[in-house]
Amino acid sequence: MCSACGFPSLPGHWTDAGARSPGSRLRLRFTRLTMINRLLAPYRLRAHDDGSTPGLQLMAPDGERVLVPDLEALWVQAERLAGTPIDPLSPRFLGDA
């Protein structure tokens, strides 16, 4: 790797793939945010993305805020704050609970 220009660059997180132009990247970020909050809502957590700062802010009901670089880190932190994994297959999401 060149320490001046950083080539070849680190591939971004896999969830960032599929958006090549700046416009589609921004659209992806905001669309994603809404979907993230759907998964977080039952755990009383919320994510925020202002569109310019890299990464996401994760907020707990007690006011704790964590900055996370990507979705992988987000779910790890969300699990810590919620005390249980954010599992899309759990009865909580399937409406059986």
């Binding site: 070849p8 896999w14 589609s24 992806l28 669309t31 993230i36 759907r38 779910w75 599992d87 999401f93």
Partner: protein
């Protein structure tokens, strides 16, 4: 730029794995003789202190031996260091360019763990791209290994291509059942056969029953493939969120995910081994009269325990049911 080199400056890596005695070195020796992989740097990893395999592979342009520790566990640091050195050598002005790196793992290695280690290294994640994981399975002993060793199954599950070695040692019907067993364990991998490295045509036996595999310790639930159709109005943005949460929560249960997803900017090839998702590659647009048969776009295959089509479909439907009209692709 050198012919065949990637425009993003990354070196291709092919992992060759398989249980102890599956015939990895024999197969690789033949491929080197035939020059299947072009100009390569071969890394041979052996769990034992005393390397032998490198003697079999005299034909390689460059060969390095990583002895005394399996590359997926105690030998991991050595492997990372050696690969970093190779990448650095390739950057030199007087470097002899290579087409790819071949890593022959020890028979005790889990290719999934190696992939994970490489993607977590800040230098190698920038310099290498995993091209293919080839796993060799012994026609004669493979069944016992799959029945008794959890590692044997992990290797098969991690493969992109499965090669049944020593096909001559069993009857054609047994070979067909072995191929069928492997397809059941890993329906996405290509199943081939080779005798001492030479390609061996597998007979098509339509009703070849897969061998029943015993449950290993806590593997109480069988591994099975499931399909999820995500071709609704909700696109890649929603699916990537849902899948990343699913893998974070149940990555140990879901061995593989693979499929082609259409996004606003093109088609993406998505694949994961346990919690590790490879950087998705952009695929060329489908040619209407293309003869290449691939999976249908937006049908995602999951292989794992404790999941089925109905569960995935209903969970996805729940996730995407509210506020229709928003979040369109």
């Amino acid at each position: 730029m050198r012919k065949g080199a990637r425009s993003d400056g990354r070196l291709r890596l092919t992992i060759i794995a398989g249980f102890l005695g599956a015939g990895k070195s024999t197969w690789l020796r033949h491929q080197l003789h035939e020059n299947t992989f072009g100009s390569v740097h071969v890394f041979v990893n052996e769990a034992a202190e005393m390397p032998v395999d490198n003697l079999l592979l005299g034909k390689a342009d460059r060969i390095s031996v990583l002895a005394g520790g399996c590359a997926c566990c105690e030998g991991r640091a050595t492997l990372v260091e050696a690969l970093r050195n190779t990448c650095q050598e390739q950057d030199g002005a007087d470097a002899q360019p290579i087409d790819r790196i071949l890593l022959e793992t020890s028979g005790l290695a889990d290719p999934g763990a190696i992939t994970k280690a490489l993607s977590e290294d800040p230098i190698l994640a920038r310099r290498l791209v995993l091209d293919e994981t080839i796993v060799l399975v012994d026609a004669l002993h493979g069944l016992a290994q799959l029945n008794e060793e959890r590692l044997g199954r992990r290797q098969v599950e991690a493969a992109d291509r499965l090669i049944i070695t020593k096909p001559g040692s069993v009857a054609a019907s047994q070979l067909a059942r072995m191929a069928s067993t492997l397809r059941q364990l890993n329906p996405m991998a290509l199943v081939e056969s080779a005798e001492r490295g030479t390609s061996f045509a597998l007979q098509t036996v339509p009703d070849a029953e897969p061998y029943p595999l015993a449950d290993i310790a806590d593997d109480a639930m069988p591994i099975k493939p499931c399909r999820l159709d995500i071709s609704g109005e909700y696109g890649w943005a929603a699916f990537s969120v849902w899948l990343s949460a699913l893998l974070a929560a149940r990555g140990e249960q879901i061995m593989r995910v693979k499929g082609v997803v259409t996004t606003a900017d093109g088609r993406l090839l998505l694949q994961s081994v346990r919690k590790q998702v490879q950087p998705p590659e952009m695929l060329p647009e489908m040619d209407a009269d293309s003869s290449v048969q691939g999976p249908r776009d937006n049908i995602i295959i999951f292989i794992g325990r404790g999941i089925d089509d109905a569960l995935l479909t209903s969970a996805w439907a729940r996730f995407t049911q509210d506020n229709p009209g928003q979040m369109r692709r």
